[in-house]
Subunit: 204 residues, 2 copies
Amino acid sequence: MTGARLSRTARREQLVVLGHELIADSSFDAVSVDDVASAAGISRGLLFHYFPTKRDFQVAVAERAGDELLAATATDATATPLEQLRAGVEQLIDHVAPRRDAYISLVRGAASGEPELRAVGDRTRAVLADRVVEGLGLREVPPEVEIVVRGWVVSTEEVIVSWLVDRDLDRARLVDVIVDTLLLPIASRLDPAEVERLGRSAAD
Amino acid sequence: MTGARLSRTARREQLVVLGHELIADSSFDAVSVDDVASAAGISRGLLFHYFPTKRDFQVAVAERAGDELLAATATDATATPLEQLRAGVEQLIDHVAPRRDAYISLVRGAASGEPELRAVGDRTRAVLADRVVEGLGLREVPPEVEIVVRGWVVSTEEVIVSWLVDRDLDRARLVDVIVDTLLLPIASRLDPAEVERLGRSAAD
């Protein structure tokens, strides 16, 4: 398909997918517009026809990375809240592990400092936090739960980045500790009926 | 003292203190080199004699902010680990609350994206994490504890920033939830003797 005539939307999509694949093994800042254009079989000038600046292209790639992370961590709504939480954490780890350097550069690197790229990260975090709160299926959400979940999303990011660098825990213990970091402070702030419901599925 | 002849070290110190005071009520990026020079009674040109670039000055002010945060949260080593943890969290909240906008801009704003300013924040976080681990006084530190503490430092930052914006909890409940977010996941990974020691002081 490289070099072939594509619609504007298809071409943009193709370039973003290529950019996203090319950063998987390297830092986010290392995306080379030349490499992407050459992989797509088009000129650098034509790439800038679709994305006026390199920053525009990076933002589109970061949005794609965020969308894929959200898609990869979507959970089965018929499972219990506890199962969904655990599965979501496992999926998150398995999604970012093969994209370690790109993920680290988005979370901690210079990319996290560019306001527009940072905004993409913040939107992804906000969607994750909302999804986690919703997934708990609480009848009433105490303010502590909202705040714990927001903190948990960034601590999970930090914990996974540390783990990707050090690998000093096996994956199951990592998942356990991430799940506990959310559940334990929350459980003590819910009434027992709500806690009990965390272990029941919608169908139960 | 403004305008008076000062030693190089004293002048640098004076400028950093003034810069730190001036950002307390505003965003970190809003530090105006002109305002600082004028408050010190010196010319803009002379300020650049002490700090070759605005970035150098900002880094010095951020280091000062980090040092003051660390000084403000130092705890009494004769108290029990639990008391030290709780006191440290209270001191952190009380230290950043009157410097809300400066703190938010350092944690979340554009300042957090400048590599050199970000590095100052990372060093401050690393010192806090080491201090927290040490303060627990464990005979053996399981890898989960190291990783939970690192995540907890960033989640605490996020939780406090959210709280400074929304203020939807009273301070005591905020402190409780921050302390629990660290202690609950850790306690379940320590042997009972270690957990029991968290409630005892060195003198006990």
